[in-house]
């Protein structure tokens, strides 16, 4: 054997060994150290889901010490501030929760602080298992994929208790107009809060359901592409309707978390609540209610056939202190197994299509219904949950809605919204 050949062989062996070790390390117990998982899941079904994931991950990787840093505040309102100061300080967690779409792309990806995860998608065969539309929401123009979605949520859901509606003699309104003109007065006469609404972000959450209901999916989507003019009469009527809907809600909004607001529906203090389907997780896991009896749902008025979506994903920041463990976590998170652990608790649909959605033990009537909608409806992105308009627009808009909640001035709100749009997205 010539020297050259010998070295070639040696090199080959070395490469094979390394590959072997590498592929071993993916599934075996070589991964160790601290793994900091940053999220805003601190309570209810979502925290239970995260804890169940961490427990299973701990069985697979017993040497990894998971640090669950969750920052309280619904929809990540406080977590995003903490994360932002940490990224600026060069102190990223190993992996963090981020909404698919604008919240991921227009901030962290644009700043170049995320690692592309295409290698995971290729090795795990996820390019086939995840819906194309969802992957495009978490990819840049060059096709780099930057996060792993753990779920699909629907924002435009209206919750109620069927027996209560019957008792008060109202039916689920098909449009916002019906809600404002018929349902709301009837409920007020019965001394019931027609709609339970919570603190600021839940008001934006309500606004997007009203906008979708008034505009329809196409014009709603146009708000974020510039095809729908923010100064148009249609948008005026969105604000008008939103004002009327708000007038049908409780006055102590700012003091309520989303769970408090949902709870009021269950307690019979309020008739309806518009909240994402994490409310289903809350009803099923925390309150142990039976779907269809203890609580029921429909698309928020006027949005039948449209699915206002958001997705919680986890990414890998550049400079993650324990990259190896973070990659192991992401591989686990995207697997069908993990998604079947998490989503029944959280009240969301699995993003991975290999998940066992047909299993009605895991995914009860609510999920079956939602899954049908997810696969058949028109899909649009949520503003309140980072799919569209994240950052300056969302925060400015949140201030517009906060002022609107106090003065109800439609013309002023719309004029400032136009100004905001031009400022952020205009030429």
């Amino acid at each position: 054997m010539s020297n050259r050949k010998f070295y070639a062989l040696l090199l080959l062996t070395a490469v094979l060994l390394t590959l072997g070790i590498a592929s071993l390390s993916v599934h075996a117990q070589d991964v160790s150290g601290d793994l900091e998982i940053f999220s805003w899941w601190v309570g209810g079904g979502e925290a239970a889901g995260l804890e169940a994931l961490i427990a299973r991950f701990g069985e697979l990787y017993p040497d990894v010490n998971v640090i669950n840093s969750a920052v309280a505040g619904g929809s990540g309102v406080n977590a995003q501030a903490v994360l932002s100061s940490r990224m600026q300080g060069g102190d990223p967690p190993d992996t963090f929760q981020v909404h698919a779409g604008s919240e991921l792309n227009d901030t962290w990806v644009a700043a170049g602080v995320m690692e592309p995860l295409n290698f995971i998608y290729e090795e795990e065969g996820w390019t086939e298992s995840y819906p194309e539309g969802l992957i495009s929401l978490i990819s840049d123009a060059e096709g780099n994929i930057y996060s792993v979605p753990v779920n699909i949520h629907r924002s435009n859901v209206m919750w109620y208790v069927p027996a209560n509606l019957e008792q008060w003699g109202v039916t689920v309104p098909a449009t916002w107009e019906e809600f404002v003109t018929t349902t709301c007065p009837a409920l007020l006469a019965a001394d019931v809060t027609p709609l339970a609404v919570g603190q600021a972000w839940t008001q934006m959450h309500l606004w997007e359901s009203v906008a979708l209901g008034v505009l329809g999916p196409e014009a709603y989507a146009g708000l974020w592409t510039g095809d729908t003019d923010w100064a148009s009469a249609e948008v005026t009527s969105v604000f008008e309707t939103y004002g009327q809907v708000l007038a049908c809600s409780n006055s102590d909004r700012d003091g309520l978390s989303w769970q408090d607001a949902s709870q009021r529906v269950i307690n019979g203090e309020a008739a309806f609540n518009v909240m994402g389907d994490w409310a289903a997780g809350y009803f099923l896991v925390d309150l142990a209610l039976e779907p269809g009896v203890g609580f029921a749902w429909s698309a928020s008025p006027g949005t039948e056939g449209a699915f206002l979506m958001l997705s919680d994903t986890f990414g890998l920041p550049v400079g993650a202190p324990n990259r190896e463990a973070a990659v192991a976590w992401l591989r686990f998170l995207g697997s069908a197994e993990a998604q079947d652990i998490f989503n029944p608790l959280k009240g969301s649909l699995p993003a991975n299509t290999d998940a066992d959605i047909e299993n009605t033990e895991l995914y009860n009537a609510y999920f079956q219904d939602a899954y049908t909608d997810w696969t058949t409806n028109a899909i649009v992105g949520s503003l309140a949950h980072g799919a569209v308009g994240y950052g300056e627009f969302k925060d400015g808009f949140s201030n517009i809605l906060a002022v609107f909640a106090t003065d109800g001035d439609v013309a002023a709100a719309q004029a400032i919204a136009v100004e905001l749009w031009n400022e952020v997205y205009g030429e």
Binding site: G73, V77, N78, Q80, A81, V82, S84, S85, M87, Q88, D106, T107, A110, A111, G112, V113, Q199, A200, W201, S251, D252, R253, D254, G255, G391, E392, D395, G396, S398, N399, A402, V403, T406, D407, A412, A415, I416, E419, L420, E423
Partner: protein, 367 residues
């Protein structure tokens, strides 16, 4: 003392001077320059500098429809500062006078009135948020003695007092200055400095004329927009005064103990009533303490952050403050330029209160 010692002394002080030069003045300079740029998160993370945009961030804060929240915050700050100082001074002085009545168990009373001062505003906020719950807490307290439950919305109240238009703010500011000038003019008159009094009166008259002819409003045209003093701020005032009135009491108490009994006794011998002794002897002597307390309390309220964050959470505008907004603009919206501009405005407000105070109290000390 020795020259060598003097040199050593300078080198001992030097590290502190350098540290403060960097961490106070250097970083303030950094904030100031950032506030003149459009620096935001994405550029900053890429290590790029912001574009210089002059005073655009400030103009936007003062006059753009997008920044109504900031102007609400400024109005809130003014209102909160006034009510907080008033509450602390009144209860602090009252408690100090009561405790000064040669009472039994004075130490126990003093300790209890002062202990909230040892707490963090975060603790205070958590506790009072519980007490401000709409359907319980303070609202149901009256039921314990058979009264009907209260129905206050506390920090969630949407009611406003004294509504005014933002466009009138230049006039209002000039009126405030005018009021101060008149106060000084009267002061000068009482002290028989007629020349100075006449000059000040002329200035006051001039300012009044300016307002009459609407000159300030026209010189600084601002957006027409309704503002008012939010009633919800009273709850923040209650929580903050609970924490800080003991401190005010301690300051007054020290002042009262500094007034000799002989002086009061002399007044009593001259036939003054107990109330008269306080009005004519004690209160005037406490004036410098009132000023100190106002300044300490004022600079706390101008930069308040943790208490409001803990009580209010995300962004209920009726109790929002610049300190909170700065935090969210900077770290949630990622707009460093605008966050720095808000921070600079906060610094200027505090400096207006603190710099004259520092200057005068140190000059007094030297004399």
């Amino acid at each position: 003392m020795s020259k060598a010692g003097r040199i050593t002394a300078f080198f001992v002080l030097l590290p502190s001077i350098v540290l403060l030069a960097i961490f106070v003045y250097g970083l303030i300079w950094g904030t100031l320059t950032t506030s003149l740029t459009d620096l935001e998160r994405v550029a900053a993370l890429r290590g790029l500098p912001g574009q210089f945009i002059g005073a655009e961030n400030y103009e936007r804060l003062v006059n753009s429809g997008l920044e109504r929240r900031f102007r609400i915050d400024m109005v809130n700050t003014v209102f909160f500062t006034l009510s907080f100082i008033a509450a602390c001074l009144a209860s602090g002085l009252g408690l100090a006078v009561l405790i000064d009545q040669k009472i039994q168990f004075e130490g126990v009373f003093r300790t209890i009135f002062l202990f909230p001062m040892a707490l963090s505003f975060v603790v205070t906020g958590v506790v009072w948020r519980w007490l401000f719950q709409q359907n319980s807490g303070l609202n149901v307290l009256p039921t314990a003695i058979g009264l009907p439950a209260g129905n206050f919305s506390w920090h969630l109240s949407q009611d406003k007092l004294f509504t005014f238009n933002w466009a009138d703010v230049p006039n209002i500011l000039v009126m405030v200055v005018c009021g101060l000038v008149i106060y000084f003019a009267l002061n000068a008159y009482m002290k028989k400095k007629s020349q100075r009094a006449a000059f000040l009166a002329a200035v006051a008259f001039l300012l009044l004329m300016l307002v009459t002819f609407n000159v300030p409003n026209q010189a600084a045209p601002l957006r027409s927009e309704e503002h008012g003093f939010n009633v919800a701020l009273f709850s923040i005032t209650i929580a903050a005064a609970w924490q800080m009135s003991g401190y005010t009491m301690a300051m007054y108490l020290a002042g009262l103990r500094g007034i000799s009994d002989d002086l009061r006794e002399a007044a009593r011998v001259d036939g003054a009533t107990e109330l008269g002794v306080y009005r004519h002897i004690v209160l005037p002597l406490l004036q410098p303490i009132t000023l100190s307390a106002m300044i300490i309390l004022g600079h706390i309220s101008l930069k308040i952050f943790d208490l409001v964050y803990t009580i209010g959470g995300e962004n209920p505008l009726q109790i929002d403050m610049p300190g909170l907004y700065m935090y969210f603009v900077t770290f949630r919206s990622g707009d460093y330029g605008r966050g720095a501009a808000i921070a600079t405005i906060m610094l200027i407000m505090v400096a207006i209160v603190i710099v004259p105070y520092l200057a005068t109290s140190l000059r007094k000390e030297r004399n």
